[in-house]
Amino acid sequence: MNKLVSLISGIVFGIGLVISEMINPEKVLGFLDLFGNWDPSLAFVMIGALIVSSPLFHIIKKKEKPIFAENFNYSNNKSINNKLILGSAIFGAGWGLIGLCPGPAISSIALLDIHSITFVIAMFVGFYLVKLINFDN
């Protein structure tokens, strides 16, 4: 059941990225170009997602045990520290350079575009490097 839920969640997420056009880095860069030619669409993607996910989170959290798993498994980390700011800033810089973040980057592998595949490989190297020096959360 858990496996099927994981696969279907991924598929639905991927289709959401296509319909909202967030799979296209140009669309994301349009949002980040706040002081130029601004495309507010990404804000509406976030609002659409939060309208659905936020009530779901709060309903599910009240249960003793989740439906599809044995126990809850999410971060209880509440600390706002230098690592959070530094990491977010590094991510923001990479995001602004190309317009790809992890979700759309991985989804766009489907289009067999050598540019996004190059980006994804570098991103996984980045994941690995942080793990290697034990600097992750």
């Binding site: 296209n24 809850f72 959070l84 530094l86 990491g87 980045g126």
Partner: protein, 137 residues
């Protein structure tokens, strides 16, 4: 600021799908693409579930194309050096801060986690500044 290419309806629709995917997967499991992708690479726990989710992300756009007969277009014209550099930044940054646009932006903000709200504001500001600087160069 000029508003261009704004697609509020498809953005909200796509966002709702993303919210559903995140909300369902939250049912006991860690949510956030950078976390899922990094764990698929480096952790044995839940590895198969994580890989299935990532596979779903790639299958989503393919299913969308098959059923709607719509072509998905993305435009990336950056040099490979820049793609590798930005991919590394995204991989490293998201692991140091423990989340990306989905993990902090949708899951974290949806749970009203202050840590995630701070992260989201940080990567948004740096992303916007990066595009601003890029446009000047």
């Amino acid at each position: 600021m000029n508003i261009v290419n704004f697609t509020p309806v498809t953005a909200t629709l796509g966002g709702i799908l993303i919210g559903l995917a995140v909300g369902v997967l939250f049912n006991g499991r860690l949510v956030g693409i950078s976390g899922i992708a990094a764990n698929a690479l480096t952790e044995k726990n839940n590895r198969f579930d994580n890989i299935l989710f990532l596979l779903g992300l790639v299958i989503g756009p393919i299913l969308y194309s098959l059923f709607t007969k719509n072509e998905i277009n993305i435009t990336i014209s950056n040099s490979f050096i820049l793609l590798i550099f930005a991919g590394l930044l995204v991989g490293i940054g998201t692991r140091i801060s423990g989340g990306c646009t989905s993990g902090h932006g949708i899951s974290g903000c949806g749970r009203f986690s202050l840590r995630s709200i701070v992260a989201t504001i940080t990567f948004m500001i740096v992303g916007i500044l990066t595009v601003l600087i890029k446009n000047f160069l």
